[in-house]
Symmetry: C2
Subunit: 154 residues, 2 copies
């Protein structure tokens, strides 16, 4: 159920670019420093995002990366799906990576994972860089709130 570090790093860099939107390019060196990401690794990631059309590069000295689309038009879901591929907890409920399973006709728990996927999908696809950028940071207590209200946490 985890997202990869690539997704994490990509999102960190994207939000820095949102911060600098329309204020010139930011170098990978700077993106890496500010977000605590290995520089050479981030190079790869930025390149992938360029191919995706989310960012554009400015070459040469004083160069770097800029956001190529408005923060309203890039969703977190798109980023997660690109770097992590499957977002479904199980392949038999995936739209883009569907794989048939011999147990489908009798499977008891498929619906549950379908619900989990639908919820996650809706949340991530409706979150744009712009909408998330506006939000407030999470307070430490919030992470443990579920446990306090009777849930088992996770």
């Amino acid at each position: 159920m985890k997202i990869s570090r690539k997704t994490d790093y990509a999102l960190r860099a994207l939000f820095t670019l949102v911060e600098h939107y329309h204020r010139g390019p930011v170098s990978v060196r700077e993106l890496a420093r500010r977000n605590d990401v290995p520089k050479r690794f981030l190079e790869q990631i930025m390149l992938e995002m360029k191919v995706k059309g989310w960012v554009a590069s400015v070459m040469g000295k004083q160069g770097g990366y800029v956001l190529a689309k408005s923060p309203e038009s890039i969703t977190v879901g798109q980023v997660v799906r690109h770097f992590d591929g499957v977002m479904s907890p199980i392949a038999c409920v995936s739209v883009h990576h569907y794989q048939p399973c011999s147990q489908e006709p009798i499977c008891r728990f498929r619906r549950l994972f379908l619900d989990v996927r639908n919820h996650a999908s809706r949340l991530l696809e409706s979150a744009t860089l712009a909408s998330i950028y506006q939000g407030k940071p999470v307070r430490p207590e919030e992470v443990f709130a579920l446990e306090l209200t009777g849930g088992a946490g996770i």
Copy 2:
């Protein structure tokens, strides 16, 4: 965001045991055959579930496994958490596997993944073997419903 095959296989076996609840032990051979799972692999899994107290074994000829608790008292969340460990999409929003991250004070997207975790957690923890056993299988169209309603699927 995927669950492991171990979790998948464990759940398949558990639901077969629900079906045979109070009707004698089912051998690993039979559990493997009916659920299309490698037999030697399932042996390991059943052993783990025995340690967890979810199933009990009956040794010798005519032996096998039985459910050790009522289907109402075992949740899918417990099974997922045991075999997959982390259910949080990112470790900084995990209760049981929390790991601090240098970006927490400024992180923009942490809340989003916290929401995803909370939703998944609530769904999985409130699903018991009994409640899921009662449900109907998923119709094929349902898997693609999100796409049709404008979501990107996943």
